[in-house]
């Protein structure tokens, strides 16, 4: 039993992640020593995760508004108008640390959390994506983490019933002790039926919904409880277990409840569940909150106020209820076998009061818990702008075909089929383009042809070399992936994963990336409507590669006019859009085939005006059904893009490199803003003419056909051989040490 009147020692304060000056701030704010429960509440509200104390200043610089933006950052997820009275609601969130400790459950609960964020706002989830970063393949823990994370992501989404349609996977030593699991979810709702977390009305019941509260994930408390809790025979695991079945019930019950008109405000319980959700709802509505913990449904006996306030048990919600509809609301939850308990009331005195067993366990000013959270302008230091790489410093490969095959079988470049075949990407029956292409395309349920496209992207090695360009590039690549399927890019969400912000160089990476993201989003009219920051991702003092993952959503008026990457027929012209300059700095070729792991040269620069021009052109061509396949050029460069199209279509091509560049620079350079298109041979000239008229460099580089790729009349490269290499690496790697 943890007592509430325990002496607040400096050690206890430190264990709660509060700095001495932050504790002083608490003392000044409340004019007395906090109780243990209050200390817990402060630690939850003022930690990096909830308060964004290191990042807030910079997040404010992001563009968050736009014609279609119904709700930007500040709610559970962003809301964007997609016409016809409909809205898409989406967000991305990290579950990095829990996933490293227990990969399966960590990833599963990450997916559960983001799905809840989306349906809390009244949306039925229609798509999930996941951006995953693992340690180097040879690291002893990597396989275990990969296998658990993938099983966890799949296990939760499959059972819940949302199609997992895309994502990304990278391997890098910087993630050896700190994997990244970033989960994205999108949902669909009527634009006039969005639910928010702002409480309204005094004296109204606050209702607890969903699963019961247990001692899951009580972080700060673990150490404390070890001390106070001498007679526990086993150290309490803090791992949260996902229960997708309960979440599915919660979804159905919530949507039914929302349709009933009983919901005034609603908020899911995520990190520091009851504390964060109750404080946010009250503070947003300028109301106080009185909680009666005796009414909270508990899974375990003897839970203290401290534990209940900090528990991160999953599949729970809090709402302000219209009392007139209480019986109706309750019946819905009982029908779905979920807990429904009135645990509090809204008040007009702006206090956050927590009662248990007749005692007041906490009594704090509710606004200040959020508003007065520390905010830091952390010192930052920008790394010097890197110089461009001299392409002639890189050796040419002996055999370009062998180099291509090797490249396609690299951990970072191989097929992710092993991953996404464990995800149900078809459920709901609306998947038009699943994993394996540029962006996923999902038909809007109930419409004939309207569609939404989704992608998540970032190239961490670019961000490490030049945070600003890397930030820009992440947004540009999203833009490109959406355009490449024919979608109009609407808006983005971000998941900013970095190391320790107290180090000026790491903070410099953060600031640089945000500036780059902001600039790209502004230039491309691509507002940031939601997001999440994950800092302190480091092991033994070494940070991860800066990884600001961007998730993006686009709109298609007609999914039958979307493009896919596969070659469709023989004798079609292959046209490259955009200029090929052979930029090899930070390229996969340099890093993995030319020994450039320590490359510090500049990543390919991103020209945003050109991105827009090229993307707009490609989208128009797709919508006019004038092109038969489209793929953007990214990691690995042009030849890799073409090979991916060939493998997807099981068809070869004859290619000619009309260039002054060294062949490997032409083939593997990672210049931005490029697309590969195919069109019937007879229409190639017209396509090129249209592009040039739009001011876009376009060039025919070959013709589809046969079962081989031939470059400049060289040795034919078997597409089947490439495919075997490409498809083979991940399953082979994972089979080496099977897991259960």
């Amino acid at each position: 039993m943890i007592r509430n009147d325990i002496e607040i020692t400096p050690e206890l304060i430190a264990e709660h992640g509060l700095k001495p000056d932050e504790y002083q701030r608490i003392l000044d704010l409340i004019g007395r020593e906090p109780t243990l429960t209050e200390l817990g509440i402060f630690s939850a509200m003022w930690n990096e995760h909830c308060s964004y104390k290191s990042s807030k200043k910079w997040l404010r610089t992001l563009p968050t508004t736009g014609e279609r933006v119904i709700c930007g950052p500040g709610e559970n997820a962003g809301v964007v108008d997609i016409g016809d009275g409909q809205a898409v609601i989406f967000k991305m969130e990290s579950h990095n640390h829990p996933s490293y400790i227990e990969p399966h459950q960590g990833a599963a609960t990450g997916v559960g959390g983001i799905l809840r964020d989306v349906f809390t706002m009244g949306a039925r989830p229609i798509a999930a994506l996941n951006a995953l970063r693992f340690g180097e393949p040879d690291h002893p823990r990597t396989r275990h983490v990969v296998s658990g994370v993938v099983a966890g992501v799949g296990g939760y989404g499959n059972s819940f019933g949302v199609p997992t349609v895309g994502g990304e996977v990278n391997f890098d030593p910087s993630y050896n002790g700190n994997c990244l699991v970033n989960a994205f979810a999108a949902g669909l709702a009527d634009a006039d039926k969005i639910f928010y977390s702002e409480a309204k009305g005094v004296g109204l019941p606050i209702v607890y919904l969903g699963s019961k509260t247990g001692r899951d994930g009580i972080h700060g408390a673990t150490m404390a409880s070890a001390e106070f809790d001498q007679d526990t025979e086993e150290k309490r695991p803090t791992v949260q277990i996902g229960d997708p079945f309960s979440e599915k019930l919660l979804l159905e019950a919530c949507l039914e409840l929302m349709a009933s008109g009983a919901v005034i405000a609603i908020q899911d319980m995520g990190a520091a569940g009851l504390t964060c959700s109750a404080v946010e709802m009250g503070a947003k509505g300028n109301l106080g909150v009185d909680l009666n913990l005796d009414a909270v449904p508990c899974r375990e006996e003897g839970m203290t106020a401290y534990e209940m306030m900090l528990s991160e048990s999953q599949e729970r919600m809090l709402m302000v209820l219209d009392p007139a509809l209480e019986e109706e609301a309750k019946a819905i939850f009982l029908k779905w076998d979920l807990d429904f308990a009135i645990v509090g009331t809204t008040t007009d005195d702006l206090r956050f009061r927590v009662h248990q067993h007749g005692d007041v366990m906490a009594d704090l000013p509710i606004k200040e818990l959020g508003d007065e959270a520390p905010e830091y302008d952390r010192p930052w230091e920008a790394a010097p702008k890197p110089a461009a790489l001299d392409p002639s410093s890189l050796p040419a490969p002996n055999d370009i075909g062998k180099a291509l095959e090797k490249m396609l079988a690299l951990p970072d470049m191989c097929s992710r089929r092993w991953v996404w075949e464990q995800y149900d990407h078809l459920i709901q029956g609306n998947t038009s383009v699943g994993p394996g292409g540029d962006a996923a395309v999902v038909r809007v349920d109930g419409t004939e042809k309207k569609g939404l496209a989704f992608t998540v992207d970032v190239t961490p090695r670019y961000c490490a070399a030049d945070p600003f360009e890397g930030g820009k590039q992440a947004v540009a690549e999203c833009w490109r992936n959406l355009s490449a399927v024919g979608a109009e890019p609407l808006a983005v969400t971000d998941n900013l994963n970095f190391g320790n912000p107290e180090k000026p160089d790491i903070m410099g990476q953060f600031v640089g990336c945000i500036k780059g993201i902001g600039e790209a989003c502004r230039e491309l009219d691509f507002p940031v409507v939601s997001g999440n920051v994950s800092l302190y991702n480091e092991t033994n003092g070494k940070g991860i590669l800066p990884t600001p993952a961007i998730g993006a959503v686009g709109l298609l008026p007609d999914v039958t006019a979307r493009a896919t990457i596969a070659f469709k027929a023989g004798n079609e012209a292959i046209v490259v859009l955009g200029e090929t300059k052979g930029h090899l700095g930070q390229s996969i070729y340099h890093r993995d085939l030319a020994d450039g792991r320590d490359d510090a040269s500049a990543p390919p620069p991103v020209d945003l005006a050109l991105e827009r021009r090229h993307g707009d052109f490609v989208r128009e061509e797709i919508r006019a059904r004038r092109v038969t396949a489209v793929h953007d050029v990214s990691d690995g460069g042009l030849l890799v893009a073409i090979a991916e199209m060939a493998m997807a279509g099981n068809m070869g091509a004859e290619l000619t490199a009309k260039t002054d560049l060294a062949l490997h620079a032409w083939a593997f350079g990672e210049d931005q803003g490029r697309y590969v298109l195919t069109a019937p041979a007879a229409e190639a000239d017209a396509l090129i003419a249209r592009a040039q008229k739009a001011g876009i460099p376009a060039e025919r580089v070959g013709t589809t056909g046969t079962h081989e790729l031939t470059l400049d009349g060289g040795t034919p490269i078997s597409v089947a051989g490439l495919k075997a290499a490409h498809e083979g690496w991940l399953p082979t790697y994972m089979a080496a040490a099977p897991e259960l």
Binding site: S159, G161, P244, K248, W420, E421, G429
Partner: protein, 222 residues
């Protein structure tokens, strides 16, 4: 055709099935809640895919004991066609309407991909619109589709033409015995299958090979 789709807590492909049946039969099926004890008067009862009750304990085990299931069994007795897809197949096995059991996939992984199916018996109410031996495309999405029954049962199933669908050679995604993808009861009016024909019925799906399965039932009850 009048049809009903049973909905359990945790079912999640019931909407796909409702939509598919409506698209193909022209009539919106009734969605029947697990806690009901009666079925409407229908020609076809479908137990859809999903994770009923989280598939906790054993797949389909808890759903098989739901209130509505005796009514489904009675309907089957009366000769009403009953189709179980994926979790529905697992549930029908658990209720005993179909023999055998679906174990975890041999590689213990959930698998979602397109497979080739072979119509092993085209002379059934569920497959008549396919040609005998026809190979067609259909997605699977399951973690426990590894069909198993004792030798005697398998022999009977095979001998009586009750294996309706098989995974085409080399395309068995789960280790299922004899590549079995779908089986019939003795009378031929109850059919269970792991793949999802309801996700292969319109241009959006890239192929419409799954339609013929529903069209077969449509014809059978006409």
């Amino acid at each position: 055709m009048k049809s009903a789709v049973i909905v359990f807590p945790g079912s999640n492909r019931e909407r796909d099935m409702l939509n598919a049946l409506e698209m193909i039969s022209g009539t919106r099926p009734a969605a029947v809640w697990h806690a009901d004890s009666e079925l409407p008067d229908v020609d076809l009862v479908v137990v859809p895919g999903g994770f009923s009750y989280g598939d906790y304990l054993r797949t389909g085990a808890i759903a098989a004991r739901a209130h509505i299931m005796p009514a489904v069994a009675k309907a089957a007795e009366r000769g009403v066609r009953v189709l179980g897809v994926c979790n529905g197949f697992q549930i029908l096995c658990e209720t005993g309407l179909l023999p055998g059991v679906l174990m975890r996939n041999a590689d213990l992984k959930f698998v979602c991909r397109e497979v080739m199916l072979e119509t092993a018996n085209a002379d059934t109410d569920f497959t008549r619109k396919y040609a005998q031996g026809q190979v067609w495309r259909c997605p699977v999405a399951h973690g426990e589709g590894n069909y198993f029954a004792d030798e005697a049962t398998i022999e009977r199933l095979e001998g009586e033409g009750r294996v309706g669908l098989r995974y085409a050679k080399g395309d068995n995604p789960n280790g299922s015995i004899n590549d079995i993808a779908g089986i019939l009861n003795e009378r031929g009016n109850v059919f269970g299958m792991m793949p999802h024909p309801e996700n292969m019925i319109e241009e959006l799906n890239g192929c419409t090979d799954g339609r013929a399965l529903f069209e077969s039932v449509l014809e059978a009850v006409a």
